[in-house]
Amino acid sequence: MADSIRLRVSRYRPDTDSEPRWQEYDVPLRKEWTVLDGLNHVKNEVDTTLSFRWSCRMGICGSCGMNVDGEPKLTCGTFLSDYAPGPVMIEPLANFPVVRDLVVDLSDFMEKLPRVKPWIIREDDHRTVEPDVEYLQTPEELDAYKQFSMCINCMLCYAACPVYGLDPEFIGPAAVALAERYDLDSRDQGNRERLDVLIEHDGVWGCTFVGECTRVCPEHVDPASAIQRYKLKAAMETVKALLLPRGAR
């Protein structure tokens, strides 16, 4: 194994640049180094002006997503040695506006997330606990939504989804996965409210089942599945509403 690898890093400084440009850095190539370790090496030893987000370095906080050789990746879980001999292209997550260097603007998702009401909705909306009363949930009921509860909001799926790239109005894979997570939760009774949001034009219908969201998801959430299942559910509800007019449900 060579002892160093070249990183081609996309730099964009809004104060001075009108568009991103490439900058290259050579970093040590060690078998236990991730792309993030490489970037930190640059930040600490070579060029302190490089900006990127990271925190947990264990694949759970969701902040270090970047496009590595064109694929959205968590850089803390992507090893440099897999790209030897290099160079490795490191760009900000695709489909998002770039704030600076490798940092993208996530406000769009942060605005969309609350729209799908990702919280438990109950008809008897308790705001506080009744002591000692737990909502029972069997392991099977837990399994029904577990997968969709694993989303770390890393936004790799948005970076991979061409539909989102073309139409930023599309609510996007992770948001639907989270809606589905609560819909499938046996403790929740909010399906109707979420349906009203997702059945809209910019809800689930824009998705053409490209499936890239699922392929890049580091947590195996399978948002593509959530969306298609949601479409089926929305369609069934609509048929039901047609067959049983005046809210006979």
Binding site: P162, H201, E237
Partner: protein, 119 residues
Amino acid sequence: MTRRRVEPLVWLMFSAGGVLAAVFLPILVLLFGLAFPLGWLDPPDHEHLLAVISHPVTLVVLLGLFVLMLVHSAHRFRYTLYDGLQIKAQRTVAVLCYGAAIVGSVATLAVLWSAAQAS
């Protein structure tokens, strides 16, 4: 109550058409598109075909099959134009695609009906 929207219904037809296309089309293309015209197999004789086609069950089945497959392809093609070619005139595209599917469906009905009358 949920607001009524057409998207879910179109999508349902798209999906149904997709399933039908997936299971019916390979054999149909193979037989009618290649095997019979090219003589790999002897084409069925006209009388038998006419009998099959003019049977009411066949009529209904073929009508459903063709209409759903047309909606399927119109719907899919519409989004291919949006995404693949980034066509901005989305409304026009939609009208053209679904319009074609509707025209095709009417034609299907006419053709099937006239064929059924022929026997």
